[in-house]
Subunit: 221 residues, 2 copies
């Protein structure tokens, strides 16, 4: 006689492959609608009714594509991670050793990601605060490493010898970071007033250089 004990349930968050058969535009519509709702309300209070309304599909379809709310959420996490890995981290040019130029290029990439998936960054950032026990552990397991890898790769091979003597480089980078986020927020609020993302990008870059110059003046020799 054997006693079998299920110590750990196997994760069976298999996405119903029907979803992947959809047209890319429709997939994006659903993804963006769902992310938007989860960002606004968190896992528990996000409403699947709101998601299907925004995505212009029926309730039945949503639960055809995904087994349940949790599977949808986990899929979105995976999707967000994939986007950031593929379209941000992998495109970082490690030969660019100047911190400001590196940051500038990253900002440019973020802008492009934003135009396709407007809330991925917000989503992953807010997911870390998620408290619902149903998804909390999975998030920690999946999202934390992405941020760790991010802060590592972003500053890899940067030439710190350009910095003034005596300056606290860590604090300088924090200031740069906060300024980027602040400027990024401001930019995103303006982005909707433009039709052409390229045109916006140009102006955006030009304005960022002005902020950049002010900080460079302080940080560099």
């Amino acid at each position: 006689m054997t006693i079998s004990v299920k110590l750990q349930r196997k994760e069976t968050t298999t996405i119903n492959s029907n979803f992947h058969k959809l047209k890319p535009e429709k997939k994006e519509l659903i993804i963006n609608a769902a992310i938007k709702e989860f960002v606004r309300n968190g896992f528990d209070k996000a409403s699947t009714n709101e998601i299907v309304k925004e995505a212009k599909i029926s309730k039945g379809s949503l639960f055809n594509y995904f087994n349940n709310k949790k599977d949808l959420y986990v899929f979105l996490i995976d999707h967000g991670i994939h986007v950031i890995e593929k379209h941000l981290y992998e495109k970082i040019d490690l030969d660019e050793t100047d911190l400001f130029k590196r940051i500038e290029k990253i900002g440019w990439q973020k802008l492009h990601i934003h135009s396709k998936y407007p809330h991925v960054f917000d989503f992953l950032a807010s997911s870390i605060q998620e408290e619902s026990p149903e998804v909390k552990d999975i998030i920690k397991q999946k999202v934390d490493p992405v941020y760790e890898r991010g802060t590592e790769i972003i500053f890899k091979h940067i030439d710190y010898s350009k910095f003034r003597e005596g300056i606290d480089i860590e604090k300088a980078i924090e200031i740069l970071n906060w300024t980027m986020f602040g400027f990024g927020d401001k930019a995103i609020k303006q982005i909707n007033t433009f039709e052409d993302i390229g045109e916006f990008g140009d102006q955006y870059l030009k304005e960022w250089e002005l902020y950049s110059e002010i900080l460079k003046n302080s940080f560099y020799k």
Copy 2:
């Protein structure tokens, strides 16, 4: 014969005065619990059940103190505005013309406000994003002017002649602002690990000066 038309309903958001008879500590407990819930979920989705649980009072009491959810919300807005006016704006020393010193003092005041009402700033800031038609107009009417007055008074009588030639003062102030917010967030996350707010305040001030010096080095002649 006269025809009387009610063009505009008189605002009758009179707070049931029972609330003001309570012991100050109990009042603060209720205020903080309610603010916390409204910050987390917005007006519509905030739960009065959660508020009474957190405030350790009964449902009946809450609706004895306040006629309804909306009155509670409006009271909290008024309260928040009062706190900021009384404990922040009125304490700004207009004889201090150095921008960095002025900012430093304001940070100090904010720290004290935070220790008594941990979420007032978040509350008023997030209230502006509120979309519920039941309170949207009232907020715009009450909160917007506070922020306008704030940005005006904070920079009143500042000596801009200390700034380097050619620097874009507006952008410099934006950077300073973003850095303050970033540092403030970081500080608040650490504040709970300290018992004594005075001790924390000292360390906080000392660390802020390091950031401050970096920016001063860039902004000033």
